[in-house]
């Protein structure tokens, strides 16, 4: 009991502190219409947050505090560029980071180097984001300067559709090239089939097994990440533990598709080959596992984003394992962090049965952009600017696409997360990056993954047999992608 109170108090303090810090940053950015840079310091890692000087003229204002940013001499001239910087995204995550950390951004005027920044945000569910983005990209050539898409974000599940088209620009055209602090898989993912690099990721997203310490103690007799990892490092062990958890009244996972990503990332064949759809072996393996888990009551029928699963993150939840990368436990585990009903501190992470990644946000330049230098600025800031990357780690709990900065924090013994009971998440993720492979992507992946998870549930529920469930899935594929031949 006392432990809990202490923990809560600490979390509260931390929350208040970070809230104050965040507002200080925003205030300082907002108030520096003149050229006085404001600075705040964070205790945790002694990094400096320099709110950039926002010039009102159109010249670029690079925050040249690091060597990396200074190396690019050949930035395109900004003289004849458009006066609206249009960015397409599917949620507010990157927008938040951009508004806080992008050098040259004036929060009060919502301008970047004097150019008005306009966000168009559409949800990715059911492909809405892609639909709207596609329409805008196709109209880009004839669109007015105010409507031209300049920059957009893409996820791993469909990035290939854009990189392998003429709607995105080669980063060398923007004056950028691959830097060796980037993780290789993020570069491969952003490359078209000819190896041309079309974008950069601001995140690296190795995905971990996130477990409840208290439940792990009950089920495995330990909550130490290394020991837990040793007991869960293969699917056989994972399945055996699920049975044990069930006996003790716990769920292994809170959604039947919780482990889907782990399997699908390790698939050895693509979803579609030569226009024909074939379910990869790894995904068939998941279909069987999810079936067993539901039948035995190891998991719930909730969707991976469902309320039912989210409710399991509260203190009174009964679920031991979740899977997710750095952005997940910082942005999707709000219930666990809730001061009243949550259980911050009762969590830890380890690699889990198989290495995998989830998500990642790539920044791409739209062909026809009239603000190429601004796009280049943003790309640089979020990959090469060490200060921005440090802020992302310290203030936002991100795992960045900058090896040097990540490793700095991984090796810092004083750096840890209260949410994870003091564990250094950055160190765990650093150890996982090698096992990430980028292979077998198709332009169809997002909706195929989403569709299969939905339609196969009917079979698990006994509403129909497996063949019918798959037939429904194939019919859905035909609606979304008439070009794919389904069995």
């Amino acid at each position: 009991m006392n432990d809990h109170n202490l923990l809560e108090e600490r979390t509260m303090k931390k929350r208040i502190a970070s809230a104050l810090l965040a507002s200080a940053v925003i205030l300082s950015v907002a108030s520096c219409g003149n050229n006085a840079p404001a600075a705040t310091t964070t205790k945790a890692a002694e990094t400096t947050t320099a709110a950039p000087a926002a010039n009102n003229d159109t010249q670029a204002a690079p925050a040249d505090t690091t060597e990396a940013a200074a190396t690019d001499a050949a930035a395109p001239a900004a003289a004849d560029e458009g006066d609206t910087f249009n960015i397409y995204a599917w949620n507010e995550e990157f927008k938040g980071f951009f508004e806080k950390y992008q050098p040259g951004y004036d929060a009060a005027a919502q301008t970047l180097n004097g150019v008005k920044v306009v966000w168009t945000i559409n949800p990715s569910d059911n492909g809405v984001y892609q639909d709207k983005l596609d329409a805008a990209l196709q109209a880009n050539a004839s669109a007015s300067s105010a409507d031209k898409v300049d920059m957009f974000l893409a996820e791993a599940d469909y990035i290939l559709k854009y990189t392998d088209s003429d709607y995105t620009m080669d980063i060398s055209q923007l004056g950028l090239s691959q830097v060796d602090t980037e993780y290789q898989y993020t570069v491969s993912a952003a490359s078209d089939s000819n190896g041309k690099i079309k974008g950069v990721s601001f995140q690296c997203c190795p995905s971990a097994l996130i477990y409840r310490r208290s439940i792990a103690k009950d089920v495995l007799g330990t909550d130490d990440p290394d020991e837990v990892q040793a007991q869960l490092d293969s699917w056989d062990k994972f399945d055996a533990t699920a049975a044990k958890a069930k006996e003790l009244g716990y769920y292994m996972t809170a959604a039947y598709a919780e482990t889907y990503r782990v399997f699908s990332n390790n698939a050895t064949t693509p979803w579609v080959t030569g226009g024909e759809l074939a379910i990869p072996d790894a995904i068939n393996q998941w279909i069987d596992q999810a079936d067993t888990y539901l039948k035995n009551g190891y998991t719930l029928t909730s969707g991976i984003w469902g309320d039912e699963k989210n409710a399991q993150m509260f203190k009174d939840g009964k679920t031991m394992c979740f899977f997710g990368p750095a952005w997940y436990f910082n942005f999707c585990m709000g219930n666990a962090q809730d001061p009243e009903k949550g259980c911050s501190g009762d969590w830890a992470i380890c690699k889990g049965p198989q290495g995998h990644f989830w998500g990642g946000t790539w920044i791409l330049a739209a062909t026809g952009t009239d603000n190429p230098s601004l796009v280049a600025d943003v790309m640089r800031a979020f990959t090469e600017n060490e200060e921005v990357c440090e802020n992302l780690i310290v203030n936002e709990g991100q795992f960045t696409n900058n090896k040097k900065v990540n490793e700095k924090f991984a090796n810092d013994p004083s750096f840890g997360s209260d949410f994870l009971g003091g564990q250094n998440a950055t160190a765990v993720f650093c150890g996982m990056t090698d096992s990430i492979v980028w292979a077998n992507a198709t332009i169809y992946d997002q909706l195929l993954n989403e569709g299969l998870q939905t339609y196969i549930l009917d079979y698990y529920q006994g509403t129909c047999d497996k063949d019918t469930a798959l037939a429904n899935f194939y019919a859905y594929v035909n609606e979304k992608y008439p070009a794919i031949q389904t069995p």
Binding site: N91, E92, E93, W119, T120, I121, N122, P123, D125, V128, K132, A135, G303, W305, G306, D307, N310, A311, F314, F331, C332, G334, N335, D338, E340, K341
Partner: protein, 293 residues
């Protein structure tokens, strides 16, 4: 006179009357609960924070009403909520006026004038009444784009002039309530035909027009399908589009169910006001055929 006779007969079966009244009241109370339950849910939910909403249901309101209001008000991802309310109002008001005025005019034309092909016109409108709006949606979007009318309100407002079901309702109403003698008398007085319609007939049709106005206003106010196809610009969004944007976030980190319920609540208020304003015609009862009997 009629009532007296009815009452006289009633005396014989007072008990049956009592029982049927009792049953009727119980039924009415049941229906009232059914109708107001959603409003209760909505109001309770709009006072709860996202975490409270996720943690399960509670019967009594919580303290987050103003937090949710502020969140909804300051949400820039949907531009600006009051702007959406204004947009919805412009479209709905224009739609409901055009629908009722022109469809009633068409019905009047068919009822009053014995022109060649009158019967065909009536049958044709009945036929097209059957066609679901969505059937032509594809071509409509194409047409709108070709005319350069995407991201304007014209494609949402102008088609309202031709509303077959309003026509059908008005036709029946005019047939049974409008004595043609009035039209003839107006002509004798030298009234122009349009004048007769606007200043003599429209007032007589007022109760029916009011009912159709409510129907049309509500339908337009709550319409998501067509505006979603036509509008792409944030500042033009109507409320249902804004709601869908906020709602689509609920499964991600940025989602806030409290905000969603708040927007729904705010979206209902104007339409409730319009409804209560026009509802005296519903409460008074719109009679079909009362004049002619």
């Amino acid at each position: 006179m009629a009532k007296e006779r009815m009452d006289f007969i009633d005396k014989g079966n007072k008990t049956t009357l009592f029982v049927s009244r009792l049953v009727s009241y119980i039924f009415l109370i049941f229906v009232t609960i059914l109708s107001l339950f959603s409003f209760y849910l909505l109001i309770i939910n709009s006072t709860r924070s996202n975490a409270q909403l996720q943690a399960g249901f509670e019967v009594l309101p919580k303290e987050h009403f103003f937090d949710n209001l502020v969140t909804a008000w300051n949400d820039t991802s949907i531009f600006f909520l009051p702007q959406g309310m204004l947009n919805s109002f412009i479209v709905a008001a224009a739609t409901c006026i055009l629908t009722t005025y022109f469809s009633a005019m068409t019905a009047y034309g068919v009822c009053v004038y014995d022109f060649k092909g009158r019967n065909f016109v009536h049958k044709f409108i009945i036929l097209i009444m059957m066609i679901p709006t969505q059937v032509g949606a594809l071509g409509f979007v194409k047409l709108v784009n070709e005319l350069g009318l995407a991201n304007t309100y014209w494609p949402l407002i102008i088609p309202a002039i031709a509303a077959p079901s309003t026509y059908f309702y008005m036709k029946q109403y005019i047939d049974s309530t409008l004595p043609l003698e009035i039209v003839e008398a107006a002509r004798v007085d030298g009234s122009n035909e349009f004048r007769t319609y606007n200043f003599i007939c429209v007032p007589i049709l007022k109760p029916a027009l009011a009912v159709q106005m409510i129907f049309a206003f509500v339908a337009s106010w709550n319409n998501f399908f067509t505006p979603a196809l036509i509008l792409d610009k944030k500042e033009l969004y109507t409320l249902p589009i804004m709601l869908s944007i906020v709602r689509s976030r609920i499964n991600s980190q940025a989602g806030d169910m409290g905000e969603v319920y708040m927007i729904i609540l705010l979206a209902i208020i104007p339409v409730v006001v319009v409804y209560l304003f026009l509802s005296k015609f519903i409460i008074g009862g719109v009679t079909l055929g009362s004049v002619k009997g």
